[in-house]
Each structure stands twice: as C-alpha cells, then as structure tokens.
Subunit: 721 residues, 2 copies
C-alpha cells in the first residue's frame, strides 16, 4: 500500500510539552497544530513551521467583561419542579432542584413579564400569583388542592456549559467559572468585535481561527443532584437562546410573541426528537438569521487578517445550521466535526463549500463522555481509536472529507505508545483514501433513498447528538448503517412533501422512529396530503421502509396511517377484540438471504399485527411480526420493528433497500459477497478500495466489469486494487 506521509492532519499541541508536540507532529504527519480548551501553544510550537489553529470561544472569551456585564449573560426558560397544593395556597421556589452554579433567577421586570404559572393537572395558566423577590418564591392563591403547579421562569446562566462540563470532568477545582455573554446585546457585539480584532492582532502565527463555535450552546440544563445531573440535554435544541431582548425583537419582527411555554412545553422543552411547533421553527429561523449576520462580522475580521475561519460543528453550534441556506453567508472556510460514527462523517462531508475536518475520538482526556477511563489507567485508547476508525472509514469511502485531527491534552498519550503508532497508521490510511475519493465519486446504486422526517434536510445525517447517547433511536442507527452503503441519500421533510410532493428521482422513502417523534412525524400523519403522497408513491412503484412506528398517530381507527400500504397496523390495546392475521413466516427472501436470523437482533414493537393474509412476514417474535414485506400496487413496503446498527443489520439493510428499489439484480455489482467487508469502486481512476470492518481476516469476492475479484484482508485492513 503506497503511503502519503504528510498533511491533512491536525495535532493538538501543548505548551510545556514542546518536544512531544513536535515529535508527534512528525510521527503523525501533521501539517497543522492546534490548541484545545485548557491548553496553550508556546512559541516553540507556533514558530515551528506548522499551520496553527487557534480555538476561540467568543462567548466566554473575556470573563472580566462578562463579570462587569452580568445583565448581558445568556438566559433560558426553565420550568420549576411541580409542587402539589395541599391547601388553596402554594409556594414554589422556582430554582429548587437546579444546579445553582449554572442558573440564577432573572428577577428583572422585563424578565418577570415572561414568567408563567400553570396548573399542570388541568393545563390551565394561572394568573393569581405573586413573586417575592427577596425570598425568591412564587405564591399562588386560590389553588385547587391536589393539583400540581409549576412556574416557568427566565434563568440567567452563570457558567458556560462546555467549560462547566470540562471543569467538573477534569477537576479544575477553584479555576474561575467562565460565563457566556449574549451577542444579542449591542454592547456585547461591540465588545466582541473589539475583542476579535485585538485577538487577531495578538495572534499573528495563527493561520486558522477555529470558532468553538458561535454563540449558543446546545441545550444542557443541570440539576443540583449529582446522581441525576441532566434536567434537559439536547444537542439540537435552541432552548438556551432566549433573552428578554431577543424575545422583544422577535415579537417586533414576527408580530406575535413567543411565550415561556413555547419553550417549556409542560416540561418537555424543545427537544429535537419531538415534532417542532411552527412557532419554534420561526424562533429557530430568527436565531439562525442573527447568528449568521453577526457571526459573519467576526469572520470578516478574521479574513481581514489573512487568516481562515473554521467552525466546530458541536458545542455552541446552535444557530449555525450548516444545512441551512444561510450557512454560506458566514463565509466559513472550514467545518470541523467530532466523530464517533460514520453518520457524523457524512454530516460533516455533506456541507457544501467548506474544508471538512473530522476530529477523531478518543479525545485526549483522562475519561470519555460517559466517565469511562480512556487516557488513564484501565483505558485502552488504541482499541477505542480503532473502533471509531472502522466506524468512520466506510463513510469516507462514500463521501470524502479533507482533514482529520485530534483534540485534548497531548501529554496524556505518552504512556500509550501503541495508540501513537496506531494513529500514525490511521493518518496514512486516511491520506491514501483521500487521494482516491477526492478526485471522483464512487459507484453508487441507481435511485435515490430519501429519509422523511419533520426536520427534513435541516437535520440531514443526524437526529440529535451521538449514537451512544441515544442508542435506541432507530434513525440514528439507520443513518450510521447507510453512511457507508452505496446509496444516494437525501433528506426530506413533511413540509417539503406537502409543498412540492415527492421528487421524481426518489425511489425509496424511509420513515423511522417512535410515535410522535420528529423522525416518525407525529401529527403530520394527520395531514391527508402526506398520506396521499406516500400512498401514491408506493402504489406507483416506489419503495417504503418503515421502522418502529412509521406513519404513526392515532386517528380514525388506525395507528399506522399508512397501514393499507404496509399491510400492518399496531394495536395500542383498543383492538383486543378485533381478529388479527397471524401469517406464517416466509423463509428465504432476498432481503434476508445473508442474515436469516437478523430478527433476533430486533426489539419487538408490541401490538404490531398483519391486516391481511397477503403480507409476508419475514421474522417474528412469538406472534408479533418483526419484519414484514407487502406488495402494494406496483411498489413495496417493508416494516422493521426496530433497527440497531451492526455489520449484520447493515448488510440486511442493503438488501432491504435493494428489494425496495427493485434492484435485486445489482446485489453483486461492486458489492462484497462477505458482509464483514465493504468496497468502493472509483470508475474514473479504476480503483477498487476494499475494507475489512471486522477484527478477523476476511476473504471476499467482488464482481466487477472485468470479472470477479477475490481479496483477502487482514483484520481491519484496507486494500486498494
């Protein structure tokens, strides 16, 4: 395997460990050295001839200024813990239970105007309440005994969440708590512009300013209780963007006001996993517009100093929206995504007009995201790294990125030489792959696969956050599986379908998720236009893949609104007395051929049943179908009770999609016959890349235009033919 020994690699340097930094830069073929949250670069590093990335986080960059401008800190709505009335008077301490190092009440008059009190037993808003500013309590009079009451209030945030997390995870002790200022305030904007200019002046060696990220972090509300920290945690939510000023500007622009309840939603908040309201979508757009317009000013400053501006697609990425039409207006030069899985590589790679960089895991921290040791005794960072690399590599065969890198404290790698060797190997392998797939597109099966959700393309290639955070989200699993498969994938919203119908080139539609999730679609399935479009699509020859609760909302006697198309429905318990078909299992279908026992890996969706004898059941648990296939008109609809990504389920998915595309005959064309291996064929340069996704030696045969090719691969190996 030819090697390209240098470039496209970003190394985290660390002042105090200059020789290690330069040694590792050499070993890993780095062309760029970066700092990280908690590390600095010294002159020995910045002057060593490497490109220099400097991470900045503008919202927490000047804590002294923040302390003097506590009225310009970021804010959000919180719902108090419910308090039950035992008499006609209820007293609520709104902040009770929340982490008071993160939050304090906004007791200003303009903030109090947004507070709301609800009877959560009946859902009614209560008006007869008063706030005691000194005691910080809300007193409700005329309460109904045994009803539960809550207060929606504005909280000022006292600790920027990522530094709060890093501080606590790394035991930074009495290190100052950094606060996040809100650039919505003109004074903050003016200060940030000054600060950015001054920063550029002071950092002449920096070639790339890495914004981490823009202005608003994903939502992360902490409780006081260490054993149950998260009150609300959502990678995609705009919950932390609400200052009184922003709320007033929104009202002025849109002609109607956002209320606290629009964000609190009876305690559900604005979770990305749930179907967004129209008002919330308007708010997101309002914030996105602001982030782009003010963000561009900072980027312009960076550019004026001859530096590039990259943005990190995590942390305070809210409002950045790389998949929005406005993103290109920022003028960012690069987009950096931290990745554990293939779908995250596609998430980064799919954004147009920027350099794509992946920050690999493990992060050079003592512990991982769930507290497990990584660069610490008991950790095995090489194993972690190889697992993540195998996850990501297959996606890179389908869609290239430009750079990879690491982050964190470099000195932690010293006791792990096997990790250091492995990263050198990965870096070389990455550079090799990049050299192929940067020049042309790999062979892809004909017919687009569209993923239908409430979010559509705005949430392309991701649900909300990493797979390991919500491993039960079927769509995240599907996206990960499909990230390395030879299909052309696009993302479509219900609003898209209602407005424009289904594009001609879409041949298969995926709808996957639990009922009422943004992924399944919730009340969108009460729209006749959606049902009509999908039904016609399949009847006219399209393929439909439904997972878990596709098209699910209870209406008119059905739970699956596409039950006639799937041939199955789900009994929520109200159809106990209705007869149900228990069809025998059909063995040996094309979709199941490589993985006849795939049903065993599926979670049953209790209540799913066949509506007729015509539905083919491909796998069952007891009497409950796990996989079904239904011919509907000229098309086909397949149902899966769940989807959890694995090598086997990925293989099954490929065959399922071929079934739905009606392209069963393509199953051998540039596709490995061994499910532990995958390949990509680059026709223009006539290169075939074959990878082994398993820890065992594998042999695989690939049918090409020139005949069958047999390849043997070492564990996890890549071969180029």
């Amino acid at each position: 395997m030819a090697e390209i020994k240098k470039g496209s690699f970003t190394l985290p340097g660390e002042a105090g460990f200059e020789s290690l930094t330069l040694k590792m830069a050499e070993k890993w073929g780095a062309d760029v050295i970066r700092d990280s949250d908690g590390t600095k670069l010294s002159e020995d590093i910045t002057k060593a001839g490497y490109g220099i990335y400097s991470t900045i986080c503008v919202i927490r960059a000047d804590n002294a200024w923040a302390k003097k401008n506590m009225d310009k800190l970021q804010q959000n709505f919180l719902m108090s813990e419910p308090v039950m009335a035992e008499s006609d008077t209820v007293v609520i301490s709104p902040l009770k239970g929340y982490f008071t190092q993160q939050f304090k009440l906004n007791k200003s008059e303009e903030a109090l105007a947004y507070w709301q009190v609800f009877d959560r037993t009946t859902g009614e808003e209560i008006k007869n309440w008063s706030f005691d500013s000194e005691a910080e309590t809300v007193t409700i009079t005329g309460a109904a005994p045994w009803h539960s009451y809550t207060v929606n209030f504005l909280a000022v945030r006292l600790w920027e969440e990522i530094s709060m997390y890093n501080h606590i995870t790394n035991d930074w002790g009495d290190k100052e708590h950094l606060m996040a200022v809100d650039p919505r305030y003109p004074e903050t904007q003016a200060h940030m512009i000054d600060w950015m200019t001054e920063w550029c002046e002071k950092n002449p060696d920096t070639t790339v300013v890495r914004f981490t990220s823009m202005f608003y972090n994903f939502a992360w509300f902490w409780k006081d209780d260490k054993n149950c920290r998260d009150a609300f945690s959502d990678w995609g939510s705009y919950a932390m963007t609400t200052t009184p000023l922003a709320l007033k500007e929104f009202e002025k622009k849109y002609g109607y006001a956002m209320t606290s309840e629009d964000f609190v939603n009876a305690g559900l908040y604005t979770s990305t996993h749930n179907v967004p309201s129209k008002k919330y979508r308007a708010w997101m757009d309002f914030i996105n517009e602001f982030v782009v317009s003010f963000g561009k000013k900072l980027i312009d400053i960076v550019h004026s100093y001859g530096k590039k501006a990259y943005v990190f697609y995590d942390d305070s990425w809210i409002g950045v929206e790389p998949y929005s039409k406005r993103f290109k207006e920022f003028g960012f030069d690069g987009l950096i995504k931290c990745v554990f899985n293939g779908f995250e590589a596609r998430l980064c790679a799919g954004v147009d007009g920027v350099t794509h960089e992946l920050r690999f895991h493990p992060y050079l921290f003592p512990t991982g995201l769930t507290g497990e040791p990584t660069f610490a005794p008991g950790g095995n960072p090489k194993l972690d790294a190889s697992r993540y690399w195998v996850n990501v590599r297959r996606a890179l065969l389908r869609k290239p990125v430009d750079r990879i890198g690491l982050g964190g404290y470099l000195h932690l790698v010293e006791p792990f030489p096997d990790f250091c060797d492995y990263i050198a190997q990965v870096a070389d392998e990455f550079r090799l792959l990049k050299s192929f797939n940067a020049s042309c597109e790999p062979y892809t099966l004909p017919g687009k696969v569209a993923v239908l959700t409430a979010w559509g393309s705005l949430r392309s290639w991701i649900c909300s956050g990493h797979l390991h955070e919500h491993p039960e989200v079927d769509l995240t699993n599907l996206l990960d599986a499909i990230s390395g498969l030879p299909f052309d994938v696009q993302f479509m919203s219900f609003d898209d379908v209602l407005a424009n119908g289904i594009p001609e080139d879409v041949k298969v539609i995926i709808n996957a998720g639990v009922a009422n999730s943004a992924w399944s679609g919730g009340d969108y399935w009460k729209e006749a236009g959606v049902i009509e479009a999908l039904t016609a699509f399949v009847h006219n020859g399209g393929g439909l893949l439904g997972v878990n609760d596709p098209s699910a909302v209870w209406a008119n006697g059905s739970f699956f609104q596409l039950a006639p198309v799937f041939g199955i429905d789900k009994d929520l318990g109200t159809k106990k007395c209705i007869g149900k078909y228990v069809n025998p299992v059909t063995e040996g279908t094309f979709a199941m051929e490589d993985t006849p026992n795939i049903g065993e890996s599926m979670v049953e969706n209790p209540g799913v049943y066949c509506k007729s004898a015509n539905v083919s059941v491909l796998a069952v648990n007891g009497k409950t179908p796990l996989i079904t296939l239904n011919q509907f008109g000229a098309g086909k609809a397949m149902y899966l009770s769940s989807f959890r990504v694995s090598k086997e389920s990925t293989r099954f998915l490929m065959r399922a999609l071929l079934t739905l595309l009606g392209k069963e005959d393509k199953v051998r064309d540039y596709i490995c016959d061994n499910l532990y291996t995958e390949c990509a064929y680059y026709e223009e340069i006539d290169k075939l890349v074959v990878i082994n996704n398993s820890g065992d030696t594998q042999k695989t045969v690939i049918k090409t235009a020139k005949g069958d090719v047999t390849v043997e691969l070492a564990p996890f190996a890549t071969k180029v033919l």
Copy 2:
C-alpha cells in the same frame, strides 16, 4: 374427611345412554339431570326421580317460525373492509370478507337509513354514495384518490352464533342452521309467549327451566377466512342488539338517535375492554330494560307451571346484567356460570338473591375452546378437570356457591374412567366445603379493596370473557389472584368517584390496565375530580395499586396522571432528553419477602421511570422499574409493570395489599406460611379449611387464636381442622 355423598350436582344426561346416565348420576351424587345443546333426555331418565333441568334457548327454539319471519331476525352493524380509492370512484361490496352463512345485508329502506359511509383517512362522513341493491355494492363518487373508504351497514344474522360454533366445532354437517329471532318485535314476543307456555305444558317432568340465556348473544362476528375467523369477538358487547325497530324506539325514548358509527367506532366496535361512550351506556341501559321486562314475562310463565327458572351467565346473556339493579326484577331462581378460574366463581357467587351453580370444565365435548382434544384421543380430561378445580376451589373458600355440574355429551366420558372417579371426588369435596361456608363467612382482613374501572360494579369480577382468551389483561389476572385471598373486594367506577367520592371503608384502590382501556380509564383521567379524589385518598393514608398503565392518558406533560402519587411516570418517547432517576433496587421489603424474584415474571412496560430519588424500586428490568413503592403523604402507592396470575404472584399480591393497607402485622393471622397452600377460617363454627394448590405434598403452618397449627397436605388436597 367426612363425606356428604349426594346432592348439589347437576349431571348432563343423554338419551340413548340411559344406563350410563343413571350410573354416573349415582357415582357423582347428582340430584339433578340436565340436557345440553345437542342432547335430549328420554323418559327412562326424566322419570328416574331426579330433578330435571331443561335447557332452552328461546331465540332459536322455533326455526320454522324464524324461517317464516326473516324480517324479525336479529341484526347488527358491521363495517365493510376498507377500500382504497385509486380514482374518484370507489365501489365497495359491504359483506366482502364476512362469513355469509352468518350475515346477509339488510337492504330495506328503514335499514339503509342507518347506513353510513366514511373516509377513514380523514374520518369524515361521506354523503355522495349510492347503493345498488341487486349488485349489493355501494358506489362512492367524488372520492379522494388514495383515501380508504368503508361502509357501515346493517346485517341480518342467519345463524345463531352458539349453535353455529357448536355445529362447526362438532361437524354437524347438514343439520339445519338455527336462526335467532329478535323479541323486540311484538309478533316475536307473542310467539315466544305461546311457545313458552306450550313448552311448559309439554315438559311436565322439568323442574328447572335453564334459560340459555335470554335474547342477545355476546358479540361474535365471523369472517369468511377460516384462518382468521373472528372479525370481532367480545363477551360483554351489546353489538348484536340493533334492529331498526330497537333503534327507533331508542330515539323516541331518549330524544336522540344512535348512529351506526356509535356501534362501529371506526372498526373498533363496542369492545368491553375500551372505555364506553355515554351513548353506548345509554343503549346498554335501554337493552337491559327491555330484556328484563320481556324476560320476566317468560319467567312468570315458567313459575306459573311450578317450575324454577335458572339463567346461564354466558352465551346470549347480553342485557341480563346480573350486577345491574334490575336483575332481581327477572325473578330468576338460579344463576349458572361456566368456570375455568376462581374469578368466575366469584362472578357467580357475588350475585344476590339466586341459587348459584357453577358449570365446570372441561365441557363434555371432543375438543376444548381452542380446539385442543379433551374427550378425544390425546386428551386428558382428568388433568384438565383437576386444574380447573384447583383454580376454582380457593374462590369457594371465600364465597360459597350452591351447586356444581357438568355439560355436554355424557357418552364421551366412558373411555375416561379416571375422569369419572375424579369428578366423584370433586363432587364430594365440593359438598363438604359447601357445608361449612354456607353457614358463615370466613375470616377476612380488615379494610376494603376497591377495583376502579370505567365499568365499576356492572363488570364486577370480570373484564370480558375467560382468562385464557385474553391472558394479557392484567385485571383479569388480578381478579383471579384475589378471588381466593382474604380481602373484601368491591368494584367502583370513575362515575361513582365523581358523583360520590371514595367510600370511607375503602382502604386500597386498584387501577390496572393498558392505557385507554376501560380498566385503566382512558379519558376519565383528564377529569380533575378523579385526580383530586385519588390523590387526596392516598395522601390521607389510603393505598393505591397501579398496574401496567394506571391513570394513563397523555395530558399536560405526563402520561400517568397520578405520577406525583406513584412517583413514577412513563415516557412515550417525547421525554428522551429529560433526565430520569435510576434508583437502586431496594432489597428485602415486606411485599417481596416470599417472592424475591417475582419481577422475573413481569412484563416490562418500556418507558416507565422514576420521577425522584425517593421512590423505592423493588424490581427492575435493565433500568426500567417493574415494581415501585412510593410513600405519598400518609399513604402508599405501589406500581407493577404487569400482573400474571400464578401461585407466586398471588402470594406477592397478598403482601402488596397488606403493605398498602398498612396491615403488615396480619400476615400470619389465619394465613398459611407456605405460598402453595391457602386456608379459610370459619370462626362461628371454628373450622379451618386448608388447601394445597400444588401438585406436590406441602407442609404449612397457620397462626390461629389457639396457637400455631401445622398441616401436611397431599397434592391438591383439602383438609378440615
């Protein structure tokens, strides 16, 4: 064990097997001989000195008359199979898919007035349709392509369902199909009165007329497809009571009309398992009033001939309602219930003012209800009988019945002498138990346990049908378990609670079922009055047992509306980003003491989570609680994810109820220390009856006022001390 060798036993005789009949009557100590559906008694039997029960089924008794009066047959509403529009015209054959030996269309003008056509995609009623009487098709014009349409229509029933079932099960070949006439028509009433009078004249030997039953069978709609016979089958539904005449009389009386959709409910029909609508309850009351008023006329005739009138609490029992206030107006002398389980014995025993008779299983038929062999090669009727007897016996210790018996074809028992011997033993045992518990009540723990459902006392001791038909219904399982436990049980509806609050003597309330079932309560949990009453009840010291989805309806951010009381809630998928407490398992609580692993028998309810650290988790599956206990004010609330009756779960339930009653100290008083045994103490006669519910020898200790009693019992044995 003293034996009482004769009486209280009803034997099914059979003409042509006279000597067998008399031999078995002697062996089993019968005092009464009966006929069955499909058997007759000859004079050798009726003149042998036994009481004679004669079964009559007045609605199918005179098929010749029925044939001449086809306009007076029984009717019901059906929903056609949905048909999807592929253009703007849809043609539907309403009867397609239904068993045409059971149904034909009622095409009369008065019937057509009740037909309705629905767009089941949108739920809208469609008015632009026409019916072609010759082709028997409905044509809809102006249809929306890809929408599904259905026709609600009135069907005339051509085959009385119980004889249809018996005919087909027993292969009666070309034996005439009996039809059910509707006594709603004055001519039918006149004919039935004549018939009843004539029948009494012709059957002087009959001492008891056993009505099987009154006029309307439980709902049973068959499909044409033998592999999926049931379109709708519900033991408690009034779906088969709707003739145009009845509908008109209802409208006249109530001032509003019932529509076909009130019965069809988008294809869900009027399942007893679902929360009934107010209109449906009114209809039930209307039918009940009629059945009682006309039924009484027939019973009066029977009485005028010096005969007694018993009614069978199955088959065409709809409108009889033994737990309604009107039941005593019939003047029935006896009530006969077929039993598989203890709760059915309590169902019979709990009705006031009648002789209670249990018809045991197995029924003397070649096959059982699910088609398994009983009195046929491969069957083991002795084993079946012993299983049922053990199920039922424990209930008889709590509440006595007066008689037992069998039904079916007596000649089938001949090849099964072990069965014959066993029944002789059961009959003796029954007579012995009866001699005790008829004279006084057994020791019962203090504090009433109330079961809270949408039906309340009208569906005391039963959900709908037998346990084996719907073994997943938690409440049926609970009723069976509690049928033999020393608690005083009553049944309460949400309407009772709203009207009268919770009675003072109720100390524990059970709410058990899947969401939106009549057992859990569905939309009743949106009534603040219900939430207030239950919350106050527990806060003031009451006990609450919730099973599966107690208090469940999605409203105001919660699924369990009593979440504050239980300390737990259920995430339907919309709270993915909300932090949840994962409390450690509390070991060794009182409730779990005899059955520490009972959680292993429980079905997980996915999404159930703790709302605070204060909730005790007694059993889990992964992170999902299966059993929780929460102190709430002065009371306690326990949650079980499911309940399936077994000896172990019954024991656990006893301890759980003692926990909730705050009567943990009573756990030894007249209660066996061995969970495979149970006992009843009759204080007035100072008798202690101990039973072994297991197939192994058991030893048990019982604490009595006179000290501990140790008993050893043979498998399944009963001992009296």
